[in-house]
Symmetry: C2
Subunit: 130 residues, 2 copies
DNA sequence: TCATCATATCAGTTAGTGGTGATATTATAA
DNA sequence: TTATAATATCACCACTAACTGATATGATGA
């Protein structure tokens, strides 16, 4: 079913995916201070040049940032003040649910886990991350 | 470098990852209407039972939803009103950048692409999704 | 207790996603 | 032009994350 509501949700998930990677988030946070060139972003975030450029391209394609060419430099900026607002709101939420997010095993790569059931399948399993 | 700022960003990325999947988003949107049992959520979202349960577990672990056991039913609810606020803000942003997000190739599985350069590497490449 | 319903967990599979290094592109200055 | 600096693209690899189907767990009523 690809009705309007479903499409809307997928679109929104895409939007959030723009924020859901720490590299992109670092870039967006860097841009909170104001427009920056790629080189500056590389410097402040510590990401590699190609990686930074890839993420910037992604953010631009998704409309989260805008670009302006200045000579051989390209300046990136947040495209909308509500993006800053969203980041701030996330900060607030994080302040309250931080403990939960921090301990959320679903986003971790792996973690030790004590066996809890005497299931027949006594394999050493690691829950999948979400 | 695992300084405070980096950790903070990774935490925030995790938070956003909670919203960055269409299944989880559908669940969260369903909960905007009020608390629901797992079965109700399965019905309204159309997701499978195990999939729904997995995502709910994730959302709970991350503090985005709370649970309350009622007999053999478990009722889920949004844990904080600001989560609704975040969703609403995302909607607003989406209204303006929707076109960009919609066309953002970085999140698509694949797409046809016309060759643009006469590069030596004339392989049929598909840009990776972010 | 036993049967059944609601929910949770698990293992396996598959597809998606991020990072890197090499290379291409573009813009400027010499 | 040509050299060089800034940025973008590409192909590959490794890892992550979602979905499914089977099964386990837990609660309730008969």
């Amino acid at each position: 079913m690809l009705n309007a509501k479903t499409q809307r949700i997928e679109l929104e998930a895409k939007l959030f995916r723009g924020f859901s990677d720490s590299s992109r988030l670092a870039i967006l946070r860097a841009l909170l201070e104001g427009p920056s060139t790629v080189g500056e972003i590389v410097e402040t975030t510590g990401l590699s040049q190609s990686n930074t450029s890839n993420h910037l391209g992604c953010l631009r394609d998704c409309g989260l940032v805008t670009t302006e060419q200045n000579g051989r430099f390209v300046s990136y900026a947040l495209s909308d003040r509500r993006i800053a607002e969203l980041l701030r709101l996330a900060d607030e939420i994080l302040a309250d649910v931080a403990k939960g997010v921090y301990e959320c095993v679903h986003y971790e790569k792996s973690y030790p886990r004590r066996p809890k059931s005497r299931s027949v399948r006594s394999g050493t399993s690691t829950p999948r991350a979400h």
